[in-house]
């Protein structure tokens, strides 16, 4: 690991300023993605701007939407009683990320900023049609995820919070990579307040995506049975030693059924 400058500002504006000044700066949240990459020498930033001083952790549950501060750990999200009532699928998703160490350090902001193709949160953000609040603007999930490890965030822009609409029903089913326990296939299903249905898939492709063929079937009949015989195409899906594209395609339907069965 190389040496770097370290600051821990208390205000979003100061953090942005510090980042703009840095030659090659990086924000630090829970560090559970960033620190391993520093240790392996895969990244060597000149400056670390630690966001923990912003103290923006917390889950606020309203009648129509839930707002989660960027610095909220996965464990806090999973443990929120109000959230478990409002969006049980989201609370369950957070409780299934990594292991207890990871859940007590890793944050929702860090996860969404990183946009790992095998991360869990992107499925919920896209599946519920969330809005990402940043230091500059509000970005709808559709526009936010732009591909593998890439997002609409620009330069020094900071994720400050994520706003999720409260759906009628939602569920998440994850098939973990047997070694890493990241999502090999994770499917988030939601029946939104207006009755529309969304199905978002993570882990299976180069980035999170919606599955229109599954959405169409569930829009007619929101039940696992509705997905019988509906196959997702393997083309374009990830293929690696743990799962071929065909196997992932098969698992998408299976996990979608399980997510629907679990939806509350």
């Amino acid at each position: 690991m190389e040496n770097f400058n370290y600051v821990r500002p208390a205000k979003v504006a100061d953090a942005v300023k510090a980042m703009k000044k840095a030659k090659d700066g990086k924000y630090l949240a829970g560090g559970h993605t960033l620190l391993p990459t520093l240790k392996q020498g895969l990244a060597a930033p000149t400056d670390i701007v630690d966001l923990s001083g912003l103290k923006n952790a917390g889950v606020k549950v309203g009648a129509k939407s839930v707002t989660i501060g960027a610095g909220t750990t996965h464990a806090e999200v999973a443990g929120s009683k109000d959230l478990r009532k409002a969006i049980p699928g989201l609370a369950k998703l957070a409780g299934g990320i990594g292991d207890p160490h990871v859940r007590h350090r890793g944050t929702i902001g860090g996860s969404l900023a990183n946009n790992d193709p095998a991360a869990d949160y992107p499925a919920a953000a896209l599946g519920l049609g969330a809005t990402i609040h940043t230091s500059d603007r509000k970005i709808p999930a559709e526009k936010y995820f732009t591909g593998m490890f890439s997002t609409a965030l620009k330069g020094s822009e900071i994720v400050t919070a994520v706003e999720f609409p409260v759906p009628k029903k939602s569920g998440y089913a994850k098939f973990p990579n047997p070694a890493s326990l990241y999502a090999m296939v994770g499917v988030f299903v939601a029946q939104l307040a207006d009755g529309s249905v969304r199905v978002a898939v993570t882990g299976a492709g180069p980035g999170v995506f919606r599955a229109p063929e599954l959405e169409a079937a569930l829009a007619k009949n929101f039940s696992a049975k509705a997905l019988d015989g509906i196959a997702v195409k393997a083309k374009g899906l990830n293929s690696d030693m743990h799962a071929s594209a065909e196997y992932r395609a098969h698992l998408i339907t299976v996990m979608a059924k399980r997510a629907v069965e679990a939806a509350k």
């Binding site: 690991m1 070694a179 030693m241 743990h242 196997y247 299976v254």
Partner: protein, 787 residues
């Protein structure tokens, strides 16, 4: 039974130290003026080294020294050796290519040790290692054992077809005849997947040279420090044994991978002299452990089993290709030969067996002994083919085994081993009962109602451990004898120190060895200390592997205790003015027959040192004895494991639903520790069967499973609560009647699990590891057929 004696469930004395973080592992030790090592490793599977330029790296502030193969050659430091000579069928000796401590001219696997960088800190050493410029000429490579004999890649000059040896065992003509007369022949092709050991503590070393005394000291993560000293002295030629001290302090797991003498440890102790005697510390990073610890297994096997019309086995033929990796590691050659093919008779009466083994170089990390070493591979072959034969013959697999069990002892197999004692049907009966075999059908239906496929599988394993009778293995090519030594020192206050050549790296010797002493001398176990792992303290030792510390190591202690008892009797007789023959020793007290005279063990110990209480011309003062024990036979633990799995047909996920193990380990010193050993072994075997698979990329030769992101270790949540029980036929070849329990779980379980998986799916074979993807793929043809 004394409550800390043989058979007692005594809590482990060492655990408080370990659990509170007070263990002293190699990396916990820091010596004055210590420096840090980092190794430059090959990024290529196979390449010539055109040049190594260290100029830029040497300029980095804090770099103390950089060493390459040239320095090693200049200093005439000997290469790494393989200590067991195997001859091919045609009589030619095995083809051992050179294995220099730092690569000379060529690298042969990704991770091969190219240069040693020594610096003031580990960070500097690592940065400087990255600045060492090595120019490589990439050569064709081969990573799969199945392809290696036909490959363009020629890994060692001595072996043009990459074959190290072509070895055979058994009577080929008799076996062919048995097959000609057979009513049925079952054939199977099996792959025993390559495993990465993953001891919790990575390998580490501190090498230092004392410029005054000219002595070397090596702290290292070793299962056998005396063997390390012997090899580094006699073969590397670093220093004579009395000028080299090897210390293996607390060691956090080995599973075989820390038996071997590796390049890194030798390089550190050697290089210390070249930097003015400053100590050099190296601690492997986890990624280095993946790349450069000796791996296990990696066999490709074709086997055939011949049966007669009554379902009796009449013959077996086996051909195995065994990967050796890029170099022959310390004991690599004996693993797929004498530790493997000699167990191919299993628990069965098989009149004729013939096996051939091709040992083959591949451009991968060296392969050597890993928990079970050869015996898991043998059990996998025997138990998978026996199960398959039973299914083909439509005989219940339990019944088929029973029909073929060896039932009278001693039993000479056609493949060298002579089984001394056992009761195989007893273990089978017990296991069937505990597993509730008769109601399996109901459980299968219940699973089917949940959409799950349930299967059951057996593994009636036998293994040979307590390694090993020196004369026997010497005649088979071993370079060393595998006896063990012990010294018992009784202090004047009656406390006892045991110095043992066995080495504990998780086995609990501090407890079990003390239990033996407590049992024999009536001394509280807290008044017994176990000293091991230091060549300056312990007279000699062959170390711990092959489940030998009980059967061989404790027998040496027991023999030394016999001498202590005899000597103490003489002292007691002198002090109590009685004839030696009239002195009896029981429950820690010496009494004189027919009198009320009595002395406690502690009083006799004190008297032995207060020499005026007896005639020191007749009895030497002091109470200290030593013994060497060379076993007369292997020991033969055996048992029956039954595994039940449930497969989720939608996803291919296999869950171990039930696991029963009934083992015969002879007499047991501490059932709690033995159960722990069995638990750990079964989990390792379940790991091999369902999760762990080392993958090298065919195209690039890179290790694809180089971290826990891709290499799946079994987790606690992946296994059920095991149901264990024991049978006992005491071992006749040692006075304690002990067999060995350290490897049994890992030997038995892969076959039990895979027999259950294939039963659940109704398939002949599913390859290991049966990950969800593998199972799902295996099921596709079945689904197509059903549609």
């Amino acid at each position: 039974m004394n409550d800390t004696g043989i058979g007692a469930r005594v809590r482990r004395k060492e655990d408080h130290r370990f659990i509170t973080g007070k263990g002293q592992y190699t990396d916990d030790i820091n010596l004055p003026k210590q420096t840090y090592a980092y190794f430059v490793r090959s990024p290529h599977a196979h390449a010539t080294i055109k040049s190594i330029n260290t100029a830029k790296a040497k300029k980095i502030p804090g770099v103390v020294g950089i060493f390459t193969g040239e320095d090693v050659a200049k200093d005439k430091l000997g290469g790494l050796i393989c200590g067991w000579m195997i001859h091919s069928k045609d009589g030619s000796p095995m083809k051992a290519g050179p294995h220099p401590v730092l690569a000379q001219g060529k690298v042969r696997y990704v991770g091969d040790h190219v240069a040693l960088v020594v610096a003031e800190t580990k960070e500097i050493a690592k940065a400087a290692a990255a600045a060492v410029q090595v120019s490589y000429g990439v050569l064709p490579h081969v990573v799969d054992v199945a392809d290696a004999m036909k490959s363009k890649a020629q890994i060692h000059e001595v072996a043009p077809d990459n074959r190290v040896f072509n070895w055979s065992i058994g009577d080929e003509a008799a076996t062919d005849a048995a097959f000609r007369n057979a009513a049925h022949v079952t054939k199977i092709d099996l792959v025993n997947n390559r495993l990465i050991p993953n001891a919790m503590e990575p390998r580490a070393a501190i090498g230092s040279y004392d410029t005054g005394s000219e002595n070397y000291t090596l702290y290292t993560t070793s299962q056998n420090p005396h063997v390390a000293r012997l090899v580094i002295s006699a073969f590397h030629g670093l220093a004579p044994e009395h000028k080299l001290r090897v210390i293996a302090p607390d060691v956090g797991g080995g599973f075989g991978s820390k038996i071997f003498i590796y390049a890194e440890e030798v390089a550190c102790v050697w290089a210390s002299k070249h930097i003015g005697g400053r100590p050099i510390k190296w601690t492997a990073e986890r990624s280095e452990s993946f790349l450069a610890d000796a791996h296990g297994r990696d066999h490709v096997t074709h086997a055939e089993l011949a049966t007669d019309a009554s379902g009796k086995i009449v013959g077996m033929k086996v051909h195995t290709k065994a990967a050796m990796g890029a170099y022959l590691s310390t004991f690599a050659s004996c693993v797929p030969t004498y530790l493997y093919a000699t167990l191919l008779s299993g628990q069965y009466n098989i009149p004729a067996i013939y096996a051939e083994v091709d040992a083959i170089y591949t451009n991968t990390a060296p392969v050597d002994a890993y928990r079970g070493a050869g015996r898991p591979e043998a059990t996998y072959v025997v138990e998978r083919i026996v199960e398959t034969a039973a299914r083909e013959l439509k005989i219940d697999p339990a019944e088929f085994r029973r029909r073929n069990f060896v039932t009278s002892f001693p039993h000479q197999t056609p493949v060298i081993m002579c089984y001394d004692a056992g009761d195989y049907p007893a273990a089978l009966d017990k296991a069937l009962e505990i597993a509730d075999y008769k109601n399996f059908g109901e459980r299968k239906s219940a699973s089917a109602r949940k959409g799950k496929l349930r299967g059951i599988g057996f593994s009636a394993y036998i293994e040979a451990c307590g390694i090993a009778p020196s004369a026997a293995i010497g005649s088979l090519g071993a370079g060393v004898g595998l006896w063990e030594s012990a010294e018992v020192r009784v202090n004047p206050v009656g406390t006892v120190e045991i110095l043992t050549g066995s080495h504990s790296h998780g086995q609990g010797h501090e407890t079990t060895f003390a239990q033996l002493v407590s049992d024999r001398l009536g001394v509280d176990i807290n008044n017994v200390s176990i000293v091991h792992g230091d060549t300056d303290k312990v007279q000699f030792g062959m170390g711990t592997y092959g489940s030998r510390s009980g059967a061989v190591g404790m027998t040496a202690i027991s023999k030394a205790l016999d001498k202590i008892e005899a000597k103490a009797k003489r002292v007691a007789a002198a002090v109590m003015e009685a004839a030696v023959d009239d002195v009896e020793f029981k429950n820690g007290s010496f009494t004189v027959k027919g009198t009320d005279k009595k002395m406690a063990f502690g009083e006799v110990a004190l008297s032995a040192y207060v020499a005026h209480k007896f005639n020191s011309a007749e009895i030497e003062p002091g109470l200290k004895e030593s013994a060497f024990h060379d076993p007369s036979n292997f020991v033969f633990p055996a048992g029956v494991h039954i595994c039940e799995v449930e497969v989720d047909a939608d996803t291919g996920v296999t869950t171990v639903a039930n696991y029963v193990a009934v083992d015969d380990f002879g007499n047991i010193i501490n059932p709690m520790i033995v159960e722990g050993q069995v638990h750990g072994g079964i989990v390792q075997g379940i790991g091999q069967a369902l999760a762990e698979g080392c993958v090298y990329d065919k195209e690039s030769g890179q290790l694809m499973t180089g971290s826990y992101m891709d290499y799946q270790m079994p987790r606690a949540a992946d296994v059920p609560s095991f149901k264990l029980d024991f049978t006992c036929t005491p071992c006749p070849s040692n006075p304690l009647g002990m067999k060995g329990c350290g490897e049994a779980g890992a030997i038995a379980s892969p076959a039990a699990v895979m027999n259950a998986v294939t039963d659940a799916l109704g398939l002949r074979d599913v390859p290991m590891p049966a990950t969800p993807q593998v199972v799902w793929k295996a099921m596709q043809p079945m689904k197509k057929a059903a549609e």
